[in-house]
Every structure is written in structure tokens, then in C-alpha cells.
């Protein structure tokens, strides 16, 4: 009984915290957004991380500070979802530029698949969509920490004895994985980070670039 009360009480506290945090500041903004959810939570800062960008420079929390950033997770062996996402973000950026938006965020694409996606490979890959996009790779544990912090998720699809097996991202890949090939199931949100380097909003699929543009303008205006 006591356990139930405690659970209920903690659920209530969580709801209250979420309500107060997103409620006070951005409740009316959140209502006006067409394609995104405000996920800003001042009590939950992005953890410290350290990765490598596609020019082999360090990419950590500092690189997310000072400007607005659109961030997405991708992998280059992705035949459908990731190219669609990257093409959409490139059109979104073009739309913001053409409409003379106050802010055109930087675009960062972090790989789910550092085993195959080296910085060099990412550089050529993301440049196809926009020469200013920044690909980021690095240590798997660091990437997993970030994936978690963004509320993103992925799992790996491998072939084992002629059967398709889906395994959690934390499970080690078989030695032959790279040679045999594998796919990744993953969430495909695009995130907007504020100039203080924190997650502000998330855009779930499907991505309508015109609604996204107007949301970005609205968020920047009300920030």
C-alpha cells in the first residue's frame, strides 16, 4: 500500500515538475507549435560528452553553445530514412535562408554507427546534402550516452544463421558484423538546441519543412 502511495506521489511530482518547467515559460508557445514538441527541461542538462567531428576536431558541449543547432542521429548505411531526413533538413535550411529567417541553425548529424562511420566517411556523406552540415562520430559509449539524453533509441538488425535478429544497441556485435552487413532501427526525431547548448524542442516524423520552419521562427522569437 505504502509502495503504491509512494509511486503515485512520485508520478505526481514528475507531472508537476514537467508542468511547472514547460508550463510557466513555454506553455503558450508549445500550443502554437505545429510540428514540434517543447522538450526543454532546465533540471535536465545535456551530459558532458566528447566526440569527433568530420574534420577530426573535438566535438563536445562547447560546440553546441553560442548558436542554435539542429541535431539529428543518422548512419550512412541507412538506405531510406536517413537520406530522407538529411534531404528534408537541407530543404528546411534552404527554406529558412530564402525566407530570410532571423536564425538559420547549424546542422549536426551524429552517427548511430561509429564502427563503420568514420569522420572521413561522414564528411563526404553529409556534404552531399549540404556543404555546411557537420558529421560527428566518436566513441560508441559517448554516442550512446547522447542518444539516451536526447530520448532517442536504436537497435541493430543482423543476420544470424540465415535469420534476422534484432539486438539492443548495448549488445556487442558479432565479429563478422561489418563483413556481413547490418541495419539499424532507430527513432528519427530532429532536435532543436538553444544557444546555451540545451535541447529545446523535438520534431517527430514525418517532417514537414514548412511547419518546421514556422516553428523554428516562433521558438527563436519567444526564447
Amino acid at each position: 500500500m505504502l509502495k503504491k502511495v509512494l509511486i503515485l506521489a512520485s508520478v505526481f511530482v514528475v507531472i508537476l515538475v514537467v508542468f511547472v518547467n514547460t508550463g510557466n515559460d513555454y506553455k503558450s508557445l508549445a500550443k502554437q507549435l505545429k510540428a514540434s514538441h517543447v522538450v526543454y527541461n532546465p533540471d535536465k542538462e545535456l551530459p558532458a560528452f566528447s566526440l569527433v567531428d568530420h574534420n577530426n576536431n573535438k566535438f563536445d558541449n562547447q560546440q553546441l553553445e553560442g548558436d542554435w543547432t539542429l541535431l539529428l542521429f543518422i548512419y550512412t548505411h541507412c538506405p531510406d530514412v536517413c537520406p530522407t531526413e538529411l534531404a528534408n533538413v537541407s530543404m528546411l535550411k534552404a527554406n529558412l535562408v530564402n525566407s530570410k529567417a532571423e536564425v538559420v541553425p547549424n546542422v549536426v548529424a551524429i552517427t548511430f554507427d561509429p564502427l563503420r562511420d568514420t569522420p572521413e566517411l561522414l564528411k563526404d556523406y553529409v556534404a552531399h546534402f549540404d556543404k555546411d552540415f557537420l558529421g560527428v562520430s566518436g566513441d560508441k559509449a559517448q554516442i550512446d550516452k547522447l542518444v539516451d539524453a536526447f530520448g532517442a533509441y536504436y537497435e541493430v538488425v543482423i543476420e544470424k544463421d540465415g535469420k534476422t535478429v534484432v539486438q539492443k544497441s548495448s549488445v556487442e556485435l558479432p565479429e563478422t558484423a561489418v563483413e556481413d552487413g547490418y541495419f539499424i532501427n532507430h527513432t528519427a526525431w530532429i532536435y532543436l538546441l538553444s544557444p546555451d547548448g540545451q535541447i529545446f524542442a523535438g520534431f517527430p516524423t514525418p517532417h514537414n519543412i514548412f511547419d518546421m520552419s514556422s516553428d523554428i521562427n516562433l521558438i527563436v522569437e519567444n526564447y
Binding site: 550512412t76 548505411h77 541507412c78 538506405p79 531510406d80 530514412v81 537520406p83 530522407t84 534531404a87 530543404m91 534552404a94 563503420r116 566517411l121 563526404d124 556523406y125 553529409v126 556534404a127 552531399h128 546534402f129 533509441y153 538488425v157 534476422t164 552487413g181 541495419f183 539499424i184 532501427n185 532507430h186 527513432t187 528519427a188 526525431w189 517527430p204 516524423t205 514525418p206
Partner: protein
């Protein structure tokens, strides 16, 4: 007189040429017509490409696309992207069904043909020849044009 015969022969030849080329793009025998086949242009080091099209089945029988083949790729697979509550799942398909008198639209975020490990990634404007095999015994080689995105979107660029 000779001139007339020549004209008739030429006209017949032209007609034959017309019908045979027409038949190639839409085989009357099987009733399966491929419309708007395209491959999405990809980075020059892309390990996988997506190919898309509309498959019309004008016959009275349900058919299945059971395989696709293209030269210069390690593998060609049939896939479907499924948005499972925000989780984008890549699911390999044994076949893609097309109901009698129906159609199926292969497009980004849905059914697609996956071209794996290209020897060379085709550039925008190039053509990829993909042979599609159906369970009614028919097959057809289709020219897929490499382009950036859906046709409608081309106008934005």
C-alpha cells in the same frame, strides 16, 4: 506505285517500332506497368541506395514482386520502412504484393528496392537498369533515373 509501297512499308515499320517500344515499357501480356521509376541520388560513398516506383497491376490476378536485380551491386533487396510509434524499422520483405487491378507505390519511408554496396554510386541524371521479377513468371528490365527526390520537389530547386 513503287513510291506508295515504300511509304506503306515505312509506315508499317514505324508502327511496328512504335508498338514494340510501347510493349517494352508496359507489357500487355502481364498487365504489370511500372510508372515513374527512380533511384535517389546519394553521396558518392553511399553504401546503400533506395529505388522507387509505382507498380500498376492491370491484370485480374494478384501478383507479387519477388525479386530485383541490378548489375554492379553486392545485393538488391526488397524492403519496407515501418514507422512503429516513432521507431523507424527497416524490414526486409520476401515480396511486395500488388493486388489485381491495384497498385503499390514504392516511395521514401515506405516500400522500396534497396541497392546494396554499389561498385560505383550512380550520379544524378544517370540510369540504373533494374530487372524486376514477378511471381506470375514475368520479368521486366526497367530504367530507373537517378534524381534528387520526388518529382514535385524538383521545382523547389
Amino acid at each position: 506505285m513503287f513510291y506508295k509501297i515504300k511509304t506503306i512499308i515505312l509506315a508499317l515499320a514505324a508502327f511496328a517500332g512504335f508498338t514494340s517500344s510501347f510493349a517494352m515499357s508496359s507489357p500487355q501480356s502481364t498487365g504489370i506497368v511500372i510508372q515513374d521509376p527512380w533511384v535517389r541520388s546519394a553521396p558518392s560513398n553511399a553504401p546503400a541506395l533506395g529505388a522507387f516506383m509505382k507498380i500498376h497491376n492491370n491484370s485480374n490476378q494478384n501478383v507479387k514482386l519477388i525479386s530485383a536485380y541490378a548489375e554492379g551491386y553486392k545485393d538488391v533487396q526488397l524492403h519496407r520502412t515501418i514507422d512503429d510509434g516513432g521507431m523507424m524499422r527497416m524490414v526486409e520483405q520476401e515480396f511486395i504484393p500488388v493486388t489485381a487491378k491495384g497498385k503499390v507505390h514504392l516511395k521514401p519511408g515506405s516500400w522500396h528496392v534497396m541497392l546494396i554496396k554499389p561498385e560505383k554510386v550512380p550520379a544524378k541524371g544517370e540510369v540504373v537498369l533494374i530487372t524486376l521479377k514477378f511471381d506470375n513468371g514475368s520479368s521486366q528490365a526497367v530504367k530507373f533515373k537517378v534524381r534528387k527526390g520526388k518529382k514535385m520537389m524538383m521545382h523547389h530547386h
